[in-house]
């Protein structure tokens, strides 16, 4: 693994986001579904708001904490992105966009099938209730972002 002192600025930022968002995703998934299930619990609007307020606070704390830890070991030098940074960022965005499109596609198709089939729907995932839609979209968003930053981290190593 590349030492923090040797990382480029975009590589460092990707590590911070990857670690923070990874931890936040685990917390969010457990809070919403009581484990790593694909069906969230049946929250009231106020309960759901409470989870999202906690999510925002946790996001700020984790990003700040991990950023400080990385900042303390960072090499003090001026950094200007070059062609390799831009190429790796492009690869990351491409990979993340692919996962985002796939996830949103699955949600749209599931929603359509559930709406058409109605109560006889027996699929493994459900996105018909607002809580399920919010959970599904957030999950896809986090997974796409993690995949994007994971791709960037991987590309810097190879």
């Amino acid at each position: 693994m590349t030492r923090i002192e040797e990382m480029t600025e975009p590589q460092r930022q990707s590590w911070i986001t990857f670690l923070a968002d990874g931890a936040i995703l685990i917390w969010f998934w457990k809070a919403m579904a009581g484990g790593f299930n694909l069906t969230p619990s049946d929250f009231s609007p106020s309960q759901l708001s409470g989870i999202f307020i906690k999510l925002v606070i946790l996001t700020i704390i984790l990003h700040a904490g991990i950023s400080i830890a990385f900042e303390m070991r960072k090499r003090k030098e001026k950094y200007k992105k070059d062609e390799r940074d831009l190429e790796i960022a492009r690869q990351g965005s491409h990979a993340g966009y692919w996962v985002l499109q796939l996830g949103v596609g699955v949600i749209i198709v599931t929603l359509l099938i559930q709406y058409v089939v109605g109560d006889s729907y027996q699929g493994p995932i459900s996105v018909i209730r607002p809580v399920e839609m919010v959970f599904g979209l957030c999950l896809v968003s986090y997974l796409a972002d993690l995949y994007r930053h994971g791709t960037i981290i991987w590309a810097y190593r190879h």
């Binding site: 950094y79 200007k80 070059d82 062609e83 390799r84 940074d85 991987w154 590309a155």
Partner: protein, 82 residues
């Protein structure tokens, strides 16, 4: 095909280079060379380790600063075309 090859679009570079040798002969550090060609130190490290094939423009900049012909600095393996 490895994961890195998948991420890199399945491409494996067949370009080797003599950047490090030319840089040492010229008496430049990686930081100095990076500054002079307008790249980062990490990119020079990656190019020297043949983990990154630079753009044509960066290749010309390297050749200019290191005062080497570009085809002496970068070597393409023609068997890659087979």
């Amino acid at each position: 095909m490895g994961l890195s090859a998948l991420i890199m679009g399945g491409k494996k570079s067949k370009i080797t280079n003599r950047i490090k040798r030319a840089r040492v002969i010229k008496g430049l550090s990686q930081v100095e060379l990076a500054e002079r060609v307008g790249a980062t130190r990490q990119t020079i490290i990656a190019v020297e380790a043949e983990r990154y094939a630079p753009s044509l423009e960066l290749a010309f900049r390297l050749a200019h600063i290191l005062e080497e012909p570009i085809d002496g600095l970068f070597i393409f393996d023609p068997s890659a075309l087979d």
